[in-house]
């Protein structure tokens, strides 16, 4: 087992570099270390100027997504031992504008997320006296997978369509829209249909399928989009029928 491992980290300091450069760091190899641990070691011991986002260290917060050896991953779940012998190249998430080093600007995603109304919409709230909205385990099962999304944007970084057509609403936002569409308590599917069925919605997707492969929470955004294409197409057919 090696004593150390080499990390090639993309650095972009807008006041210094016109475009990112690669800096090399030698970090101790430990069996239980993930790439995020190595980055924190660099920040603490080798170079305090390195910038990156992280928070929970356990695949819940969705902050530490980066490109590791060309693949988008949560760095808190990317073990050094799975990337031996190295060097391990760490770059910011692809297709997002880089603000500094490994930090990308996520404004675009936040705007799109809000656009699909990822919350429960009720035409009319029932009075408190009637109690809570109850769900059977099967009704929960219908949307649970999509509710696991942690907004890490790794799926966007894996989607060449998003890279080529930045106006595409994108995998996670559509999966989250589906999460609420399939919720038995929700009545907002009609409102979301307009947003999801427009040009920059589901029809931009050509089913590359990479979003599903890279998702750290097994959300299956590609499946969500294809299933919604069927819903949207059926809705369109119904509009053609009399009294549709």
């Amino acid at each position: 087992m090696p004593q150390t491992v080499t990390l090639e980290v993309a650095r972009y300091r807008p006041e210094r570099e016109a475009e990112p450069i690669i800096e090399t760091y030698e970090v101790p190899f430990r069996k239980d270390w993930v790439v995020l641990d190595a980055l924190n070691h660099i920040k603490d011991k080798l170079d305090g100027t390195l910038s990156f986002r992280w928070s929970c260290r356990m695949g819940v917060c969705g902050s530490c997504g980066m490109t590791v050896n060309g693949r988008p991953k949560l760095t808190c779940a990317a073990f050094l031992s799975d990337h031996l012998p190295g060097p391990i190249r760490v770059e910011p998430l692809r297709y997002f504008p880089v603000v500094r080093d490994l930090v990308v600007d996520i404004t675009d995603f936040m705007r799109k997320l809000k656009k699909v109304k990822p919350w429960i919409i009720r035409k009319e709230e029932k009075p408190l006296s009637e109690g809570e909205y109850r769900q059977t385990p099967d009704e929960l099962d219908a949307y649970k997978q999509f509710s696991m999304c942690i907004n890490c944007m790794i799926c966007y970084s894996a989607c060449p369509i998003y890279g080529l057509e930045p106006t595409f609403i994108g995998p996670a936002a559509i999966a989250l829209a589906q999460r609420y569409n399939r919720d038995s308590r929700d009545q907002g599917a009609g409102e979301r249909l307009e947003i999801l069925s427009e040009h920059d919605g589901i029809w931009q997707c050509t089913f590359v399928g990479e979003c599903t492969k890279v998702c750290p929470k097994n959300v299956d955004p590609a499946g969500a989009i294809q299933q919604y294409k069927l819903t949207s197409a059926l809705h369109w057919v119904r509009t053609l029928l009399p009294r549709g």
Partner: protein, 138 residues
């Protein structure tokens, strides 16, 4: 009273990397995706050849004989061999994707992907056997 100060919101000096023309060569799955999309071209060519065959058939036995003779020339054999490979690739990728696009639920539980794909493959095999039987019988 002086007018309130107008701030220009701070805007970082972003770095945006352009997507390379060769993005589809970056990973194996991107390449297989582009090949899958390309299969449609061969499916279309095959459809045109079939229309051409129908036209020859409508024009009588002599025209049809000429058509058949033309199909036996090396360029057409090569085209058909290539089209066959692409169409098989098209079918396999299509059936593998079917369970993703169709979340079939049975008695409240989702039918496993393998079952959905398996039924598709089964239908493919069955129809292929039927077609082979019809063609090889005579």
């Amino acid at each position: 009273m002086s007018s309130p100060a107008r701030y220009t919101p701070y805007h970082p000096k972003w770095y945006r990397r352009r997507v390379s023309v060769w993005w589809w060569l970056e990973t194996g799955s991107y390449t297989s995706f582009v090949l899958r999309e390309l299969t449609s071209v061969f499916v279309a060519i095959f459809a045109v050849v079939m229309l051409w065959e129908l036209r020859a058939l409508a024009q009588g036995p002599a025209a049809y004989a000429t058509f058949l003779a033309r199909l036996k020339t090396p360029p057409f054999l090569a085209l058909h061999a290539l089209a066959f490979l692409f169409v098989v690739f098209h079918s396999i990728t299509w059936f593998n994707l079917a369970p993703k696009a169709m979340a079939v639920r049975f008695r409240g539980k989702r039918v496993p992907d393998l079952v959905v794909a398996g039924l598709n493959y089964g239908a493919w095999l069955f129809l292929s056997v039927v077609v082979a039987f019809i063609l090889l019988r005579g």
